[in-house]
Amino acid sequence: MANQLNTPIVNWSPAFDPAFSHTFTFSYTGNQAVKNRAVIYDNDTYENVYDRIQEGLKLDHVLPSNTLASGRTYVIQIQVFDAAGASSALSAPVVFQCFTSPEFYFSNAEDKMVLSSANFTVLLSYSQTESEPLQQFQYYLYGQDRTLLYSSDVFYDGSNLTHTIYGFHNDSIYYLRAVGRTVHGMELDTGYLQIIVQYQIKPANILFSAQNHREGGYLSYYTGIKSIGYETQNDHYSFAGGEVTLWDNMLTYNDQFCITGDFTVVLKARKLPLETFFRMKADDCPYEISMRMLEIGGLYYCRLTVPYGLGDYVFYRELPKAELADAGGHRLTTASGIPISIVNLTYNAEDLVTFTLRRKGGLYSLTLSFEEEEA
């Protein structure tokens, strides 16, 4: 039969996974093509692996799934036929590759994950069975309505698949996505991963006041933030269980505050040595208010010293006594109702003692109370 139709031109096809059907497109001008024939050869063995005719008016040929094998290079040629039976010549051969679909996903993120910080370092994972290299990739961040908020640069280094995205707002929903391409043009897409951002920003205990002004029709607010300065003699201190332990050291708070007039000091402490452990001083004043632990006659006391011009006021407060209680937590008492207590003949000091020092109207008071350590 004479070749009367123009020769079609097969469009370049990126690499694809032969486990799925694939559509080859071609361009052609001339009489309406009603069917086309595709011939595929293995580029290495020149073996004819596919030769079929498909009917249709569209300028494409659908290769069924599982026709070819992964990791191979092939050549395709196409010819067209019109309704009268005329045909074209086979097109120029076009080379294409088949590869197994790569694995391309976020290894440290999953759909609907909760992110608890304002930034996130994403980690991409890429692998391909036939070792097809990754050519380029890019990260995208979308808002709740899938509008694009951020796109990274295009990266070409397949050995570094991490990227940090900053600026996540609390109580917000984002979508994370990465796209890429292999060396032979396979398109990669992680899809949209929903990220729910909920990070625990620390509620601050500060002076922040808001007020309504009815006569002016506005709201006012003011802040009173204090940053207290402090210093230590050395680094002999450690933190554990919400406590700080000092050894051969002194902690001094000495900036951004000044106590005048009445005050209350509440100090919770344990394992105090038998010496002065607490001082309150004024600048340019030789006197100080102090507390120290001491043992007198086998009993343990806290001594508060408050100077006046001619000497010192001294208060002694006995360390709190442990009281006995039954299994139900009810205090045991004598027949006359006096609680039975254990005198502190030793000072193991594993339990917290709360020292409450007050100055009110110029008069001082010291109270010691006892707090059991929580199990």
């Binding site: 204090k226 940053s227 106590i259 607490f278």
Partner: protein
């Protein structure tokens, strides 16, 4: 017995020396030991039950020794804050709006005072003070406040005027574009909208008086100056926010010419002005573009 103002040492404490009053205490020292909490307040009524209370104006220092030695307002420091942000939202809603930002370079910058003029009447608001560094939020504190006012307020970036006297109902009109076309072959009309206009407009009438703050009586001379300033304000061609006692609020420009008319007495003058809505009063972007807020785009 008290004779000539003295008890001759017969009182219980008359031989006691005077109390010392070491004032201006500015150093607190603690030596070896294990400390769980240090709390100091200028209120002598506080006690151990108050050490976890919120910071108030009497609190001097409060150290919980929870992995640090900080004794000031926890969470806000020069180490973790370069900008303080104030946000607001109506209680029960989700979206916060930024109303003020302040760069922090030294400790004094942490203390500031601000006002928010665009709160609706009879509405509960939550205000949040937030510390951020490099755009990342860290510590915050939230306070609730109820906005209440009377009358009408018109707020611009260069002034605020209001009145509670003889206000009319501030009737409004919702303006949209719609054209009615009668077709020859249809009993019913066809309506077409060739635009997306959808805004409110209206007019406000109120009596503007100036009252003497001492006597509470009308200040006639002051009232003339007040009304003239108000009309100058209306005619300055700048965007404003109009809010009413019934909770309505709009971002507006004044349209038409304001009028100043007598209301039954020579000293009672009513001013009437018309307005049209020019943006979304709840949008920080619209407020910024109309010069009513300084909050820039990175905080929207």
């Amino acid at each position: 017995m008290i004779f000539l103002g003295t008890t001759f040492f017969s009182g219980k404490y008359t031989l006691s020396p005077l109390n010392a009053n070491i004032d201006g205490i500015s150093q607190i020292q603690m030596t070896d030991g294990t400390y769980d909490h240090l709390f100091i307040s200028a209120n002598p009524e506080k006690g151990p039950a108050n050490i976890h209370d919120e910071w108030d104006e009497h609190t001097v220092l409060n150290a919980d020794f929870n992995d640090n030695l900080e004794a000031g307002n926890s969470g806000f420091s020069l180490k973790n804050t370069d900008t303080m942000v104030i946000k607001i939202r109506e209680k029960g809603t989700m979206d916060w709006k930024t109303i003020e930002t302040k760069r922090v370079k030294n400790v004094e910058d942490f203390n500031f005072y601000g006002i928010y003029r665009f709160a609706r009447n009879n509405t509960d608001y939550e205000l949040m003070l937030l510390s951020t560094i490099a755009g990342i939020e860290n510590s915050y504190v939230v306070r609730e406040v109820r906005s209440e006012f009377d009358g009408m307020y018109l707020i611009g970036n260069d002034g605020l005027f209001g009145t509670v006297y003889d206000l009319d109902g501030c009737d409004t009109t919702r303006n949209t574009t719609a054209s009615i076309v009668n077709l020859l072959n249809n009993r019913y009309a066809s309506v077409y909208s060739n635009g997306i206009s959808n805004y409110d407009s209206g007019s406000v009438t109120g009596t503007f008086l100036k009252l003497d703050p001492d006597s509470g009586l009308a200040d006639e001379a002051g009232g003339i100056g007040l009304r003239r300033e108000f009309i100058d304000f209306l005619c300055n061609q700048k965007p404003k926010v109009l809010k009413l006692f019934d909770g309505r609020i709009w971002l507006v420009r004044i349209t038409d010419t304001p009028s100043d008319t007598q209301n039954g007495h020579p000293d009672l003058r009513q001013i009437t002005f018309s307005w049209a809505e020019i943006g979304d009063v709840n949008s920080v972007k619209d407020l910024y573009q109309n010069g009513l807020t300084d909050v820039t785009s990175e905080w929207w």
